[in-house]
């Protein structure tokens, strides 16, 4: 018998990445920095509002969420630039603080709902969430995190609601939202990517897929064999694009006669724009293209060694890998090197390597958002199963909102 209580559940996908948190609903994605900080005092905040000359007044850029466990406003994502002290949701692949991570979920759902309203849709009312957790968290931590979430929900009869009180610090507007939680499904982070490939690239056929998710602070490996994540071989390694940019910063510092240390963040910002030169005060312009290439090669070599080692274990079980997938923010820098190394390992032709080594490009989705899309599909599939229906595997990402500054004007 279909469970009709799932008929009005909206599927949501989400993950708290080491650098960015991403949430997906249907064709919309929101992404903000995985960082939280305490709000300013009322008087300081009022002064900041008066002096703020940014024309970007979007909620996602200026978001504060009321933390009822501490009875104070907390700044989330880009807004935490004004906080004295900031905390990251995760560090080295581990959730740092459940209360902070809970606010991350509140922020994600609020921003998705806000985007709906801005597109003349009703706010979110009842959700089922597919949620990616760091591999190192493990099932016990996942259960504990779930119990924490449960303890923070408001019970009304047999139903549980998430209350969100949010403030747009730039405009001073405060909004409250009440969302019913139907379920939350916790899965290892890179499994979302597998779901995306399964539904779109693989045409709902089960191919053994080895997923590598290269993030800002960690890279994750997750072999999925016969639709099941191989937990024994999955791992998150505390090495990512941050390692690459930090090393570049250090090399520039040393090569420039230690005059000035370029912040890692400045190098990071240049990468998406394809800029590989940075001005070092007192030392001139420094071209770091070659260093970047070497650092990426080093990171890729570490990844490939782990992959080769896992292939031995997988093969001993009589299984083979059909596809190798690389996703995450670092994929844009590492993917081609990764493909080349897999190709050389198997001595494949270019044609076969192009077919068997895949990335977000094969889905038409930015590498960074493939996981969150997949978790949305996972939640959608579970809702369809409860309703005893076929799942709709289609998705088309038409809008992405981030907390990066827009309409920059002084």
């Amino acid at each position: 018998m279909p469970d009709l209580s799932y008929a009005d559940v909206t599927p949501i996908g989400g993950e708290l990445g080491t650098s960015m948190s991403k949430f997906c609903e249907d064709g919309r994605i929101i992404a903000f920095s995985s960082v939280i900080g305490d709000g300013l005092s009322d008087s300081l905040e009022a002064n900041w509002q008066k002096m703020n000359r940014s024309t970007d007044h979007r909620w996602i850029r200026n978001l504060a969420i009321y933390d009822d466990s501490k009875n104070m406003w907390r700044y989330v994502g880009a807004m935490s630039r004004n906080s004295n002290q900031i905390n990251w949701f995760t560090h080295k692949g581990v959730i740092q603080n459940y209360a902070d991570a809970f606010i991350g979920i509140q922020a994600g759902l609020f921003c998705l709902s806000q985007e709906r309203e801005e597109n003349d849709k009703p706010p979110l009312k009842k959700v089922g969430i597919g949620f990616g957790i760091p591999v190192k968290a493990g099932e016990v931590v996942a259960e504990t995190f779930f119990n924490y979430i449960k303890s923070r929900l408001k019970t009304e009869g047999s139903e549980k609601f998430l209350l969100i009180k949010a403030k747009n610090v730039a405009t001073g507007e405060i909004k409250e939202l009440k969302i019913q939680f139907a379920f939350i499904l916790l899965q290892f982070q890179a499994y979302g990517a597998y779901m995306s490939f399964l539904m779109k690239k693989f045409g709902m056929r089960l191919y053994n897929t080895y997923v590598v998710d290269v993030g800002h602070g960690t890279w994750i490996k997750l072999p999925v064999i016969e639709n099941e994540a191989d937990i024994n071989l999955s791992d998150s390694v505390p090495e990512g694009i941050f390692t690459v940019t930090s090393n570049i910063s250090q090399i520039i510092f040393e090569s420039s006669g230690q005059r000035y240390k370029i912040p890692e963040q400045r190098i990071m910002e240049k990468l998406p724009r394809g800029e590989y030169k940075v001005e070092v005060p007192g030392s001139g312009v420094f071209d770091f293209a070659n260093i970047l290439d070497n650092e990426c090669s080093n990171l890729c070599e570490h990844i490939i060694q782990a992959v080769k080692s896992d292939l031995v274990s997988i093969n001993r079980k009589g299984k083979t890998i059909d596809y190798f997938a690389m996703v995450g923010g670092g994929a844009s820098l590492i993917f081609e090197k990764f493909k080349e190394k897999i190709k050389n390992h198997y001595n494949w032709s270019d044609e076969i390597a192009n077919d068997r080594v895949i990335s977000g490009v094969d889905l038409g989705v930015d590498h960074r958002y493939v996981n969150s899309v997949g978790f949305m599909l996972l939640a959608r599939d579970q809702i369809a199963l409860e309703l005893e229906k076929e799942v709709n595997p289609d998705f088309d990402i038409t809008a992405i909102s981030t907390d990066a500054l827009e309409n920059f004007r002084i």
């Binding site: 139903e159 139907a182 379920f183 089960l206 031995v312 068997r356 799942v391």
Partner: protein, 205 residues
């Protein structure tokens, strides 16, 4: 039905089956092959059918139809022997095929497709055999994909190196190993997710 009746029924089936091959030239080829391999017509046709399915499977896996696949193989073999007239050879085979195809008794393409569909289950068996083979290989020798991958890679590189040094000397055609072949394949008949969907452990509120 008695045993004798069964025999009669079986003979009739064979007779009916033989009606497929009214073309004298094809029958002559079959008989010559039977003579060469010391086997019966029935056995020969069974083996040929099986081989056709095997090659169809391999061709499908690399994204080609069986005839294009054969052409690619010919090109590769001819290249490995240092002969560049592959186009002419393939054209010649094509001409022979067209001439043979004009005979009235030749099985039509639609019939071949029918046979192929009828035995498509055998392609699935092959896929399972491949997995079983890998398992068996590991059980016997503990040879890892990693190690074999590298060894095969080295072998191939060596061969290429040799060919680059002196193509004329590298006249001998080397057979591709099962390892090399298997590594180029992905599962051609993967199971459907629709059959494996299940309700996961959802944390309900």
């Amino acid at each position: 039905m008695t045993k004798n009746q069964n025999h009669a029924h079986h003979d009739k089936k064979i007779e009916t089956g033989s009606q497929l091959f009214t073309d004298a030239e094809t029958i002559a080829i079959i008989d010559a092959q039977c003579e060469e391999h010391k086997t019966s017509r029935a056995k020969f046709i069974a083996v040929v059918t099986r081989l056709f399915l095997d090659f169809s499977y391999i061709a499908k896996t690399v994204g080609k139809d069986v005839f294009s696949f054969r052409d690619e193989m010919i090109k590769a073999i001819v290249r490995s022997k240092g002969n560049s007239d592959t186009g002419e050879i393939i054209e010649k085979i094509g001409r022979e095929e067209s001439a043979a195809g004009s005979g009235d008794g030749e099985p039509k393409a639609s019939e071949l497709r029918g046979i192929k569909e009828k035995f498509s289950g055998m392609a699935r068996e092959l896929s399972e055999l491949r997995a079983a083979f890998v398992e068996l290989k590991n059980a016997l020798g503990g040879v890892s994909e990693d190690q074999s991958g590298r060894r095969n890679g080295d072998r191939k590189k060596d061969r290429r190196h040799q060919a680059e040094d002196d193509p004329a000397k590298d006249k001998k055609h080397e057979a591709i190993t099962v390892d090399e072949l298997a590594q180029e394949f992905k599962n051609s008949v993967p199971p459907s997710y629709k059959d494996k969907r299940k309700k996961l452990h959802k944390l309900k509120f």
